[in-house]
């Protein structure tokens, strides 16, 4: 294989011709035909001429023309949308038989719902919703109010979703969803769809009333034409259409309400969300009726279908926009089933409702706990984008509170008098770090973990710099009294202390996400729990200090001002949280010692491969933490030392589990009114309890088989003991 050299290619005659595409600064257009024909006689199929800059990406992007697996330019069913329309692929009206027409429209609606869900889950808009000719060319159906307005509203909804997701843009995940590849969106026309759809809904309501009415009343309504021609089916069809239309309407309203600034539309949005969920229920109920009109083609298959009736919808071709989706190779995508699509929407709506129900307290502890709780149901991109836009607007929390006031509140200090502080360079930087952190916490968990690992370093550099600076200022400032109103330095010093706590919180989240993402194998649990223990221990220390500061300053305020109402609920909340951290600290300490003992006694697999040792694995897993000086000493050495002598006979592990169990009991009382938290603490309690039993059993009989499982908690393991 002969690589092409510069000299050869430049010897080709220049023919500037009348090119409309500029060739760029230091290059000219050249005719490559002679080179290519010379190459053709030399090359066998599949051989290649490459330059030095030919890399893997170039190799993988190479297409084999006319290979249907790769060539998106290949003609499939239709050459163009126009050709498809001319061939009668998407007729208007769909049928002259009004019953068939209505049936077909319902199928289209169902299939569109499936397309929309599939799009949300990460496939291109072009291959999903816009594979429908009626959606692509709404102007064709303007005489068909029902289909027309429905398609317009679908388009408006897609636009709303694209706008939320692209406004929240943080990583590459959003690309596919927001890529509209020049698809035709017409905002104004589409916005009118909702009005039209309302009118259509009105008419169908009357048609439904008419068909249910007694014959006497019916005469009154005589001028009203029925929906279709078969009187026996009228009621069923009307109902099936109504729930579909209403779902669309409420869904678009809900999305729009959620975009109002500072969460002002949340209350209304919740009403629309509740309606959406109930309409989806009606959708499911309509399936029986719709299916009864179809010739039965196998019950099992129905589960896989994209429509309630089980029929293929008319007017869809996912290859229509293939050329728009180049350069990605033309992959056939697998659509969800209609049932799965409904499940998807129900879950999405629940997630949106969670967001709307969130009370926008200016309290960072509260926000962080909410975000973590929110992630537990694995929310999809659309709901995460909404959450992010709610949390961070105009560089403020909820578009309302600056991060300086938020921090001050965390520490129960008053910043209203310190006007210069919000311009302080550290406070400005902190603002940026906080915005960044909140955005990251709304991203998908794999990306979130990577990013958290990286920002730890930013935080820790910032922390060190601020520490030095504040320290110097404090020394210079000892002469000045704090009574003159400007307590900026005092505040900065407290904020500095809090940042350290926050860094450990981020580190803990990073470690915990490793469990959620299934990144640790059982032979690595020991080191992971050890690391969690170290981080938790420090987090607990810092957080406890903050609680003391808060309580102290609140007490002072209350003493000074009899009118001052202390937010006791909040004080209790953080104290409880600190106790939970302490409980987890004991638990992870116990787990570390127990697993280390099992390893030392040969009852548990050691991680040993032919090419490296535990040391290398440790380094790889915790590289980013160590870079951020968490902890500040040689962690591996410390880990090895503290676990090397753990044994089942001498067992502080036992004590640790007992402590954790006791604390969990106390915490449960405090969380009596919070079912999510209660469940979490109960899980921790059970882990501790079962591990106490397991350790006892193992001490008595070393021939028992033991495995670590997550039966009670997603990331604290329970030792399961079996007779072999």
């Amino acid at each position: 294989m002969q690589p092409v050299r510069e000299e050869e290619s430049s010897s080709i005659q220049n023919d500037p011709g009348n090119c409309s595409i500029p060739s760029g600064d230091s290059s000219v257009w050249a005719d490559v035909s002679p080179l290519l024909s010379a190459a053709c006689t030399d090359l066998q199929e599949g051989e290649l001429i490459h330059g030095d800059n030919f890399n893997l990406f170039a190799a993988m992007s190479a297409l084999e023309i006319m290979d249907p697996k790769m060539d998106s330019g290949m003609v499939s069913a239709f050459y163009s949308i126009d050709e498809a329309i001319e061939s009668g692929f998407a007729p208007v009206p769909i049928s002259s038989d009004k019953t068939v027409n209505v049936e077909s429209i319902i199928d289209i609606m169902d299939h569109l719902l499936v397309c929309e869900a599939t799009w949300h889950m990460g496939h291109s808009l072009a291959q999903t919703v816009f594979s429908c000719i009626y959606v692509l060319r709404p102007e064709r159906t303007s005489s068909q109010a029902l289909l027309h307005s429905y398609c317009r509203v679908i388009r408006a909804t897609c636009r709303a979703v694209v706008s939320v997701v692209s406004d929240a843009r943080t990583n590459e995940e959003e690309d596919l969803l927001t890529m509209t590849y020049g698809l035709p969106f017409n905002g104004d026309e589409d916005a009118k769809g909702l009005l039209l759809l309302n009118a259509v809904e009105e008419t169908i309501c009357r048609q439904l009333r008419a068909c249910k009415a007694t014959s006497a009343k019916r005469r009154l309504l005589e001028e009203l034409e029925p929906l279709q021609t078969n009187p026996h089916l009228e009621e069923g069809f009307c109902k099936a259409l109504l729930c579909r239309i209403r779902f669309r309407k409420h869904f678009l309203h809900a999305l729009n309400c959620m975009r109002r600034p500072q969460g002002r539309g949340h209350e209304l949005a919740r009403k629309h969300i509740a309606s959406c969920i109930s309409e989806l229920q009606s959708l499911l109920e309509s399936a029986e009726f719709l299916r009864s009109n179809t010739v039965n083609n196998g019950e099992t298959e129905i589960e896989e279908r994209t429509t309630a009736s089980g029929r293929q919808p008319i007017g869809f071709d996912s290859t229509l926009n293939k050329r728009l989706s180049a350069p990605t190779p033309p992959r056939a995508i697998k659509l969800l089933s209609w049932k799965k699509a409904i499940d998807y929407f129900v879950k999405l709506l629940h997630n949106l409702d969670q967001i709307c129900a969130f009370s926008l307290e200016p309290d960072l502890d509260f926000v962080l706990q909410f975000v973590i709780q929110f992630h537990k149901s694995r929310p999809d991109l659309v709901s995460r984008a909404h959450l992010q836009l709610l949390l961070v607007q105009d560089g403020k929390l909820y578009g309302r509170d600056t991060f300086l006031t938020i921090c001050a509140r965390l520490l129960a200090i008053d910043v209203s008098k310190n006007h210069g502080l919000h311009l302080n360079e550290y406070i400005l930087q902190l603002n940026q770090l906080m915005i960044n952190l909140l955005k990251i916490l709304c991203a998908n968990t794999p990306w979130q973990r990577r990013k958290l690992g990286k920002i730890l370093n930013d935080w820790s550099i910032f922390n060190v710099q601020m520490g030095i600076n504040v320290g110097q200022l404090m020394q210079q400032d000892t002469s000045r009294s704090q009574k003159n109103g400007d307590r900026s330095l005092f505040i900065l010093n407290h904020v500095y202390g809090w940042i350290e706590e926050q860094i450990h919180w981020v580190a803990l989240r990073f470690l915990v996400l490793g469990f959620e993402l299934d990144l640790y194998s059982p032979s690595e649990y020991c080191m992971v729990y050890w690391y969690m223990y170290i981080i938790l221990w420090k987090l607990h220390e810092k957080a406890r200090l903050r609680v003391l500061i808060v309580v102290h300053s609140e007490e002072r305020k209350a003493k000074r001002n009899k009118e001052y109402s202390r937010d006791m609920a909040r004080e209790d909340r953080i104290s409880l949280w600190v106790l939970l951290i302490q409980c987890q600290t004991s638990l992870t300490q116990g787990l570390t010692l127990m697993i280390a003992a099992l390893r030392n006694e040969g009852m548990c697999l050691k991680s040993q491969g032919p090419f490296n040792t535990e040391n290398e694995k440790f380094t790889q897993h915790f590289e980013l933490l160590q870079k951020a000086s968490l902890p500040e000493y040689d962690a591996y050495e410390s880990f090895s030392k503290s676990t090397a002598h753990a044994s089942l006979d001498f067992l502080p592990a036992y004590e640790c589990f007992r402590d954790a169990q006791k604390m969990a009991k106390d915490i449960k009382v405090g969380y009596a009114n919070d079912p999510d938290k209660l469940a979490e603490v109960r899980g921790i309690e059970q882990v501790a309890e079962h591990n106490v039993i397991a350790v006892n059993l193992l001490c008595q009989d070393r021939s028992l088989k033991v495995s670590l499982e997550f039966t009670h908690h997603p990331y604290f393991a329970t030792a399961i003991v079996r007779r072999s």
């Binding site: 990460g122 973990r449 491969g609």
Partner: protein, 187 residues
């Protein structure tokens, strides 16, 4: 014909021959094996890219003249480290579970190590239990999860194997802090 693909093959491990990539005649063998097993369509250029630049990292396993397994890799500079990368690994079904893949991977990794690589990486689908177990036994960790990595929407793990580190320099950490926390730990 179809059936024999699924059936377990009776054979003795000593009958398996391993060779490194030795030229054009091996290319169609590799391509047909990989095309059968992996979902992504690779163009012939992708294969050539690997086997021409790193023939020494590509191995094939034969049984009685039939190619039954292969591995395709590369290595190069990546963010200040020199790293190896395993691009494709396949053993056909009748021959699985007998250590053939482990042998192929081991051979490639040895060459990478000798060539000065500091680490080896690859991606595997999160539900590819076989591949994950295999690499786990060889010392790979799951370093990252990659969201929707494959076009079918599936996540992937980035697996990494770090070769033993150079001798560790004594740390200049604050001594009393270390002590304090250690004491607390083993309390």
């Amino acid at each position: 014909m179809e059936k024999s693909i699924e059936e377990k093959e009776e054979f003795d491990e000593s009958e398996i021959e391993y060779t490194s990539y030795a030229g054009e005649h091996h290319l169609p063998l590799i391509m047909s094996l990989v095309d059968q097993e992996l979902s992504e369509p690779y163009s012939i250029f992708t294969y050539r890219y690997f086997v021409y630049l790193w023939p020494q990292l590509c191995f094939l396993a034969f049984h009685k003249g039939r190619c039954i397994g292969t591995i395709v890799c590369k290595m190069g500079e990546h963010r200040q480290t020199y790293r190896g990368y395993i691009a494709m690994l396949v053993v056909i079904k009748p021959y699985r579970g007998r250590g053939i893949a482990s042998e192929l991977v081991t051979r490639s990794i040895k060459v990478m190590m000798e060539s000065g690589c500091e680490e080896v990486t690859l991606e595997a689908e999160v539900d590819n239990k076989g591949a994950l177990a295999l690499y786990g036994r060889l010392g790979f960790i799951r370093a990252k999860r990659l969201h929707h990595y494959y076009l079918n929407g599936m996540d992937a793990f980035r697996l990494k194997l770090l070769f033993p580190l150079k001798p560790r320099l004594p740390q200049i950490a604050s001594q009393d802090q270390t002590q304090q926390e250690q004491e607390n730990f083993t309390a």
